[in-house]
């Protein structure tokens, strides 16, 4: 029967709008303005300006990913232990905030963090030292953690919730203390969720240009900002594509890790 024919629209769509565009990035990245082959656009990453932006982005993305993981794991465990209202909590954490535009939410952190902002108002009222992190890398990390935390919570939760409670009980019966149970049972079993969470947080954090612009005050340039400017301001698509290829190497590295750990081919989206 011609069920296979049904896949035609999607195959056509993904070829035209996923694969062909990616090939075009490679084409532009590997040629110069005249269309001749060159590696210059890729090697341009080595210039001090670009490598500094890449290094800065890697650093901030790494820190945000670690913070997200440390915040998300306990949260996912707590969600697992809850009996009622579990689903509505997940909606509250993940879906509902998205209905308030992400740019506005990020910008609201400006109001909260500013020298005369809400947080410093409260700190001053309590006679505590003020917090001056707006327009610093710390503010960008905060913005990244704020925006991408849900992407860490959900995959870990999805894995934890499937772990058979009897395994945990058996470990406890056999004399393991809660810490040992966590280290030897829960952690190894939840590794696929952790890896897919790391991918889901690290990639957008590494490549963002919005959070750094809004909370970094335009002074801190990440690799995403440089690529964005090549396309929208300088109109040097070849250089922008070349730098994107470098960026994709990190993403592909991440994808390989998640593909190895997630054999089923189902990314834990929801």
């Amino acid at each position: 029967m011609n069920r296979k024919l049904l896949s035609a629209p999607y195959l056509f769509w993904s070829a035209l709008f996923i694969l062909v565009p990616l090939c075009m990035v490679f084409y532009y990245g590997l040629t110069d303005k005249t269309g001749a082959f060159t590696l210059e656009n890729i090697l341009a990453i080595a210039t001090p300006e670009h490598s500094k932006a890449l290094w800065e982005a890697l650093k901030l993305a790494f820190v945000s990913t670690v913070i997200c993981l440390l915040l998300a794991y306990p949260l996912a465990m707590i969600l697992c232990g809850m009996n009622s209202h579990k689903d509505s909590f997940i909606v509250l954490i993940f879906i509902l905030p998205m209905w308030m535009n992400f740019l506005l939410r990020t910008m609201a952190w400006q109001s909260l963090l500013e020298k005369t902002g809400v947080i410093n108002g409260i700190l001053g009222f309590l006679h505590l030292p003020s917090l001056n992190i707006i327009n610093t890398p710390a503010a960008i990390v905060l913005g990244m953690v704020y925006n991408f935390l849900p992407f860490m919570v959900l995959p870990i939760y999805n894995v934890l919730v499937k772990i058979d409670k009897n395994i945990v009980n058996a470990a406890r019966d056999l004399g393991a203390n809660p810490f040992q149970t966590f280290l030897k049972i829960l952690l190894p079993l939840s590794l696929p969720g952790i890896f897919s969470g790391i991918t889901m947080v690290f990639v957008p954090a590494l490549t963002t240009f919005v959070i750094s612009r809004v909370l970094g005050g335009g002074k801190i340039l990440l690799i995403g900002n440089i690529i964005e400017e090549e396309f929208t301001k300088t109109d040097n698509w070849n250089l922008g594509s070349g730098l994107s290829i470098v960026l994709m190497l990190f993403i592909i590295f991440n994808m390989v890790i998640s593909a190895v750990t997630d054999k089923d081919g189902e990314v834990n989206a929801l």
Binding site: M1, R3, K4, L5, L6, S7, P9, Y10, W13, S14, L16, F17, I18, L19, V20, P21, L22, M24, V25, L71, L75, I78, D87, S88, F89, L96, M98, M100, N101, F102, L103, L104, M107, A108, L112, E114, V118, Y146, V203, T207, T208, F209, V210, R213, I227, F231, T232, G240, S241, M248, I251, N254, M255, S258, A259, G265, E266, V267, A269, L270
Partner: protein, 262 residues
Amino acid sequence: MSRLYGAVRKFYIALIFLFLYAPIATLIVLSFNASKTRAKWGGFTLKWYQSLFGNDIILQALWNTLAIAFLSALIATVIGTVACISMQNMRRSTRSLIMGVTNIPMLNADIVTGISLMLLFISIGIRFGFGTILLAHITFNIPYVILSVMPRMKQLNPSTYEAALDLGASHIQAFFKVVFPDILPGIFSGFLMAFTMSLDDFIITHFTKGPGIDTLSTKIYTEVKKGIKPEMYALSTIIFVSVLILLLLINYTPRAGHKKAR
């Protein structure tokens, strides 16, 4: 011991909530702020809510955003669901190849997806505008649909479909009477997910939009430097509160005999 643990848990959840909702609360407060700047509180007012409905630029951006979100989610749901059905009978290797391609827009960086689509549209020579944004949104929405319909498909018992055929149903009848009701919750949550993602997207829209057209996201982005118009706060407050009320209604309406679908 366990009471202390319970208290710690509640405190932790409260902290995370505070973290996630502090900016949202800030925006809601700002929408009632009589002073035009974010920096100071000028007293309570409803005037931004009034002037919002006279602001054609914002309303046009809202309309574009909703139209693109609805159309892209709808088309992505149809294409994605049909793709899931067709993948059922495929060889495992073919299927995992297709799923690999499906995962690309989800795992790849939005900026790369945006740039790659922009390069494609330029080389085809389509005029940038509503159409290009819509095509881009459909593309990144399809994976969300497939990933929420696929698990439902796998849970299906193939015998029920065959039983329907044995009992004289045509393929189409068997599909709509047997398969479709079972995968409907997956289709529905895929649609909602796609709609939400499209609504909240900025980066891909930024690269695929033309000069004359704006969604709420791109409008806000151009305003970030100059200062956001307070009407924007009013609009987002309205959207947020209506979704919140909708969710409360769905969650707390007793539905006899139905298990809540996720």
